[in-house]
């Protein structure tokens, strides 16, 4: 819907993700067994934090330059506009993370099979992060220290995604079937797809007042 000319923002999210995930092996030491067992959690927590970074931007820039008002005044259903914006955020900020995650997983000693599970779980989980995060971003528009507030509002809601996402990868590391976790993650995705655009649209209306 909107083309993004701010490559620096996208890259900073990506670098943040890579650096956070790479700090763990440096801090913990090179024991492959240990790294392999913490890898699912590390990659997922890093993805969570990185997506927090990009969330503040979803609506803040539009709010400042008045584009958001214009978007609210278009003859389209607002939830569709919101869904478009969130999809653009996911495409520009989360998809690069998903693409680079296998590399980080490799670095942490994950097997090929587990890497596939990691990518699938991220593909299912990161849209949820964008969708839920957009509610927080819309609610905190125009507030001071909104980035801290977003984190406080949204991180607790991310917990199910983290549990099922990292759980799927962990199951695969331990040789169990990761499918139940992935199904649950898919269910969370469907739920948030249905509800969060409406919630975000309502929050935006309140914030623009």
């Amino acid at each position: 819907m909107l083309s993004w000319r701010r490559r620096a923002d996208v890259l900073s999210t990506l670098f943040f993700f890579v650096i956070v995930a790479s700090l763990f092996p440096l801090g913990i030491g090179p024991e492959t067994e240990l790294l392999r067992s913490i890898a699912p959690g590390v990659v997922w927590v890093a993805a969570l934090l990185a997506s927090m970074l990009s969330l503040g931007r979803v609506f803040a820039n539009d709010f400042q330059d008045g584009t958001l008002e214009q978007l609210l005044l278009t003859p389209q259903p607002l939830f569709l506009v919101v869904a478009g914006k969130v999809f653009a955020q996911w495409l520009t900020s989360e998809v690069p993370l998903v693409l680079i995650a296998p590399l980080l997983g490799l670095q942490l000693g994950l097997s090929k099979q587990t890497l596939v599970v990691l990518v699938i779980s991220l593909l299912l989980g990161t849209p949820v992060l964008s969708l839920i995060g957009s509610i927080g971003a819309a609610l905190t528009l125009g507030l001071r220290s909104s980035s801290v507030l977003i984190a406080i509002l949204v991180l607790p809601l991310y917990i199910p995604v983290l549990i099922f996402g990292a759980g799927a990868v962990q199951a695969s590391v331990l040789g169990f079937d990761p499918q139940p976790h992935l199904y649950l993650l898919g269910a969370v995705l469907v739920l948030s797809l249905i509800f969060s655009p409406w919630a975000t649209a309502a929050a935006l209306k309140i914030s623009v007042e």
């Binding site: 008045g66 584009t67 978007l71 278009t74 389209q76 007042e209």
Partner: protein, 174 residues
């Protein structure tokens, strides 16, 4: 619409386009309460506020394409080009609006008015940071709009005399 700072000009305009809920009273558009009209109401209204609604990273041309796109206006390159020529931005269509001046960015949002096909214009302090010739341009835009059967509500501190149709002056007091 005139009035001192803080008299509620902006609030009134924002109420009229549903950005702000009113505390009491009703706002009606063509006989129906505006909140009951849903998104269709916005097909009749264009609001230009203090903030230009112009994306810094995009060029003037792209800005107009996005606006026309999300508002469901059919447009072609020529219409956008000629709108930009009309507001005096010819030759600057493909510059990022970030490097344009304040007044030029305001002109980009004026070009949006030319492209729009809405009946009601709500213009908030639209003359700020515009030079004398652009003020004339705004005047002729509004006059054309009114001559074509449109309606405009303009909040302003500057004198704006219109030669077309019927115009009323509303003065707000604090």
């Amino acid at each position: 619409m005139t009035g001192p700072n803080g008299s509620g000009k902006t609030s009134l305009l924002r109420i009229l386009c549903r950005l702000l809920p009113q505390e009491e009273g009703r706002v009606e558009w063509q006989g129906a309460e505006i909140h009951s009209l849903g998104e269709d109401f916005f097909a009749d209204v264009t609001y230009l506020g203090h903030r230009h609604g112009v994306k810094d990273e995009l060029t003037a041309e792209e800005n107009l394409q996005v606006t026309a796109g999300v508002n469901g206006i059919k447009f072609d390159k020529d219409a956008i080009r000629s709108a930009l020529v009309k507001v005096g931005l010819s030759g600057r269509e493909s510059l990022a609006t970030r490097i344009l001046s304040e007044g030029q960015r305001r002109r980009v949002s004026l070009a949006r008015l030319i492209l729009s096909n809405t009946k009601l214009w709500l213009l908030d302090e639209i003359l700020t940071s515009l030079d004398a010739s652009s003020v004339l341009l705004v005047r002729s835009l509004i006059e054309e709009h009114i001559a074509g059967g449109g309606m405009a509500i303009v909040a302003t501190h500057q004198e704006l005399t219109l030669n077309a149709g019927q115009s009323d002056r509303l003065e707000l007091k604090t």
